[in-house]
């Protein structure tokens, strides 16, 4: 084929000590769809941010039509004809479709006043170009997510985008909406636009892509045409690495069922059923947005469920509120440590003791001495230095903050612990300590449910792996039969397009 439209070579990007991108490359031709695939954290989004001008690369070059270009800001990217449709839409819901389409370049009449007639005419024209049947006078927020996405695409096209990046565009779409999107993608390809399509869904990649490029751990793995690759090849390229001895543990012997979840559901979630036994670590694996966290929140009473039943040690637990769930013996360390887990301005002592104060009050009065003593015991157990007890939690490192979040539930001594991404943003040393802690807790008879996007971790620390997709548990694997390849296969629904499965709606 001829000269590529866009060529990225040797792109490297470092964030502090982490190498987010290491010498990656990618080339895109006019009139093709290139699927960019990789696990969470493979570096896809980072590369797209560089392309969009949101962040700057440390090394490497960007060529458009063979000419090197510099993209220092989103404005530069637009000027080069690069448009990116992010997962979170970049539009104003309260304004009409037409107003959104003219945002930042509002036409004015000769009195310098907004020319409403032209805004509307332009909008109709822009929507017609992608054959989107949308009434431009409607408020954008009144449209479904799919339609809103179309409006963004129409805006990109109207800016004469030659390179269009779609970052997981169907993650929030219904099946019908996704079909419409595919039609638009196909039309744009026919018009000679180069499309980079980021997706975790095998099915749609196989339907749309001409070529596939795979990244792993910030590095380039390979590129091939759809014809020369199989789904199995792609999955292997995405995960292919060995599990270190970081996760190795002696076999544990599970006891009685402690957490028994039956058919819990909510809008777009479930029904999901599973059990966790005493002394067992079960991990929930699945892609971001698959509904793992949401299922955990249903169990913990953080969100309301529409049906199903949960039992803890044989007693029903149907909490309307996390405080009830905690009383029933559940504990949850949320994924968003800073936003939902910790009180960053408050002391470590306050953070650790907050959920156990009922054990330390006489009447309503907190017995400070007893609290302090018990908090220090837990800090010692987690190897947090003692003199941190009065520091604001904000002053701790990511790993130590996570330890403080864990210590809260160690102090409470809850029989069921749900740990959502327990090692995210934590350095390798603290990671190992957290794994050891999870193992020790299981051995002490706790039932532990771990949610992890890190596949080797999800498999390595668990006795069983539950694979979640589309808010449902699609597969349960024993530790010895769980490999990264087959977990990933179920997580992305590979092979599912040959059967009649449900890749459709997502929460």
């Amino acid at each position: 084929m001829d000269k590529p439209l866009l060529e990225l070579t040797g792109i490297t990007k470092r964030f502090g000590a982490t190498l987010a991108l290491n010498d990656v490359r990618l080339d895109l031709r006019a009139g093709e769809v290139l699927a960019l695939m990789g696990e969470n954290g493979a570096g896809k989004s980072t590369l797209m941010k560089i392309l969009a001008g949101n962040i700057q690369r440390d090394a490497g070059s960007i060529l458009i039509d063979g000419q090197p270009v510099e993209i220092r800001s989103p404005r530069d990217a637009r000027a080069q004809g690069i448009a990116i449709i992010h997962q979170e839409l970049n539009t104003v819901p309260a304004m009409t479709v037409a107003e959104n389409l003219s945002l930042g370049q509002e036409p004015r009449n000769r009195f310098g006043v907004l020319d409403r007639g032209r805004v509307l005419r332009d909008a109709r024209e822009k929507l017609a170009r992608i054959h989107a049947d949308i009434d431009p006078t409607r408020p954008l927020g009144s449209l479904g997510i799919g339609m809103q996405q179309m409006v963004e695409i129409a805006r990109a096209v109207s800016e004469n985008a030659r390179v269009l990046v779609l970052d997981e565009p169907t993650a929030a779409l219904s099946r019908a909406e996704a079909q419409e999107l595919y039609a638009v993608v196909n039309r744009m390809r026919a018009e000679g636009v180069g499309l980079i399509y980021i997706s975790h869904r095998m099915e749609e990649v196989w339907q749309l892509a001409d070529r596939i490029t795979v990244f792993r751990d910030g590095g380039y793995v390979g590129t091939g045409t759809r014809a020369e690759m199989s789904e199995a090849d792609v999955v292997r390229m995405m995960v292919g690495r060995s599990i270190g001895d970081l996760y190795r543990h002696e076999p544990r012997t599970p006891g009685n069922v402690v957490l028994d979840v039956k058919d819990i559901e909510a809008t777009g979630l479930g029904p999901a059923s599973f059990q966790v036994r005493a002394g067992e670590v079960v991990s929930m694996s699945g892609l971001v947005g698959s509904g793992r966290t949401e299922l955990a929140r249903l169990i913990f009473g953080a969100d309301r469920r529409s049906g199903g039943a949960v039992q803890v040690n044989g007693r029903p637990s149907n909490p309307a509120d996390p405080s009830k769930a905690i009383a029933d013996g559940l504990a949850m360390v949320p994924e968003d440590r800073k936003g939902q887990g910790l009180f960053l301005d408050h002391s470590v002592e306050r953070n650790i003791s907050i959920s156990s104060l009922d054990q330390f009050v006489s009447g309503e009065v907190v017995r400070d001495g007893a609290v302090r003593k018990s908090v220090l015991e837990q800090m010692e157990r987690l190897r947090l230095r003692k003199n941190a007890i009065d520091l604001p939690t904000r002053a701790l490192s990511g790993g130590n903050q996570q330890k403080a979040a864990l210590a809260r539930w160690l102090l409470r001594d809850s029989p069921v612990m749900i740990l959502d991404e327990p090692t995210r943003g934590v350095d390798i040393g603290a990671k190992r300590e957290i794994y050891e802690l999870i193992d020790a807790l299981a051995r002490a008879g706790k039932a532990i449910l771990v949610i992890s996007s890190d596949l080797p971790e999800a498999i390595g620390i668990a006795d069983r792996v539950l694979v979640v997709r589309g808010g449902k548990i699609v597969k349960e694997l024993q530790a010895d039969e769980a490999s990264e390849e087959n977990v990933m296969r179920y997580a992305v629904g590979a092979g599912a397009n040959h059967q009649t499965s449900n890749p459709g709606t997502q929460p």
């Binding site: 941010k49 969009a52 949101n54 992010h86 913990f300 953080a302 509120d321 996390p322 405080s323 905690i326 009383a327 949850m332 949320p334 936003g339 939902q340 887990g341 910790l342 009180f343 960053l344 301005d345 408050h346 306050r350 003791s353 907050i354 959920s355 104060l357 009922d358 009050v361 309503e364 009065v365 907190v366 400070d368 809260r408």
Partner: protein, 343 residues
């Protein structure tokens, strides 16, 4: 003050200037301001130092200080209550009417406080369970309750020269004005509740991070509801004291007091965002405002000028408070300039 600070301390201060400043200001900053103010007043204002004058100051600040104590609970959760001034009027009016109707003094006082608590309950339910913005809710109840006070009294003060609870405003116990004793009692209870009880820790937790508090098992809505009730009860007590002091029910009582109370809380270092602050600071803040008012009167400063000075003091205090979080402040300013940055 000292010209030659220790080099080590200086280096440390340079290294973590921000943190040190915040640390010092949180602990002693506002107290220093008060001491400075008292020293200046004793030098320049005649008779400022006399015991009877100081007791007068204490009595004059008691109503505002009690309002501010209740408001501290609300502001610690990140909320606001603009209706406390109007609650002063309604509860005072109801208590006086009850007393005139022959209700014994202690019962009339309790009725007044209960009326305040009920008003707070309305604020709390609307804020916590309907998730309405407290600023708007209490702006509404502020207007409504003022209207209620006018309606009940037909717009006229109800004077009762033999009001059975008038000692609450005018009496002395062991030489100390009763309102001052009430104020001290309120602050002792508030201090105990906020510093020593589980409830107090939950109040701080809700203000520090409401989502985290919920996931940690704090019943966030209940806490939010309760702090408005606390503010209402305090405002009810303040209303009864005010009525006792003027020996009448005034529908205009407490007009604008909510702003003085907020000023006292903020002067005392409690963050309007919630989660940070101390009840002791609120007391100091109220005292500063009282000393300033009385001192300026003793100095024969014109009323108009007094307002100018008080306004400047409040803005200075808030400016210093936000200076403590200068990084955030700056990022807000810049963030607006560049539009949403994609993380």
């Amino acid at each position: 003050m000292n010209a030659s600070p220790e080099p080590v301390a200086e280096a440390a201060a340079k290294q973590s200037n921000q943190f040190d400043f915040a640390w010092w200001w949180d602990r002693v900053g506002i107290l220093m301001v008060l001491i400075l103010l008292v020293v200046l007043m004793s030098i320049f204002a005649p008779n400022f130092n006399r015991v009877d004058n100081l007791l007068n100051i204490a009595r004059s600040i008691s109503v505002n200080a009690i309002l501010a104590a209740g408001l501290t609970f609300v502001i610690l959760t990140g909320g606001i209550d603009l209706s406390v001034g109007s609650i002063v009027a309604v509860s005072g009016v109801v208590a006086v009417i009850a007393a005139i109707a022959g209700v014994p003094a202690p019962v009339a006082v309790v009725i007044g406080m209960a009326v305040g608590g009920a008003c707070g309950l309305v604020n709390g339910v609307l804020t916590a369970y309907l998730a309405l913005a407290p600023f708007i809710v209490t702006l509404g109840t502020m207007t409504f309750l003022r209207g209620l006070a006018y309606t009940i009294t037909n717009g006229q003060p109800i004077v009762s020269s033999d009001l059975n609870f008038k000692d609450l405003g005018n009496g002395y116990l062991l030489g100390i004005p009763v309102p001052v004793i009430a104020m001290v009692a309120v602050f002792l209870v508030a201090w105990f509740v906020l510093e020593r009880t589980r409830y107090g820790r939950h109040v701080y937790a809700v203000g520090g991070n409401a989502q985290a508090a919920r996931l940690a098992g704090v019943q966030v809505n209940r806490i939010i509801l309760s702090v408005y009730v606390v503010a209402g009860i305090c405002a009810g007590l303040a209303g009864v004291i005010f009525a006792a002091r003027v020996i009448s029910a005034q529908p205009t009582a407490g007009t604008g007091y909510e702003l003085d109370a907020i000023a006292a809380v903020v002067l005392g270092g409690t963050s309007l965002v919630g989660g940070r602050g101390r009840i002791v600071g609120t007391l100091i803040g109220a005292v500063i405002l009282g000393v300033l008012t009385t001192g300026l009167i003793l100095l024969n400063v014109q009323f108009f000028t007094q307002l100018l000075i008080k306004g400047v003091v409040i803005i200075l205090a808030v400016a210093i408070d936000s200076l403590k979080q200068r990084p955030e402040l700056l990022s807000v300013l810049f963030g607006r300039g560049q539009g949403p940055s994609k993380g």
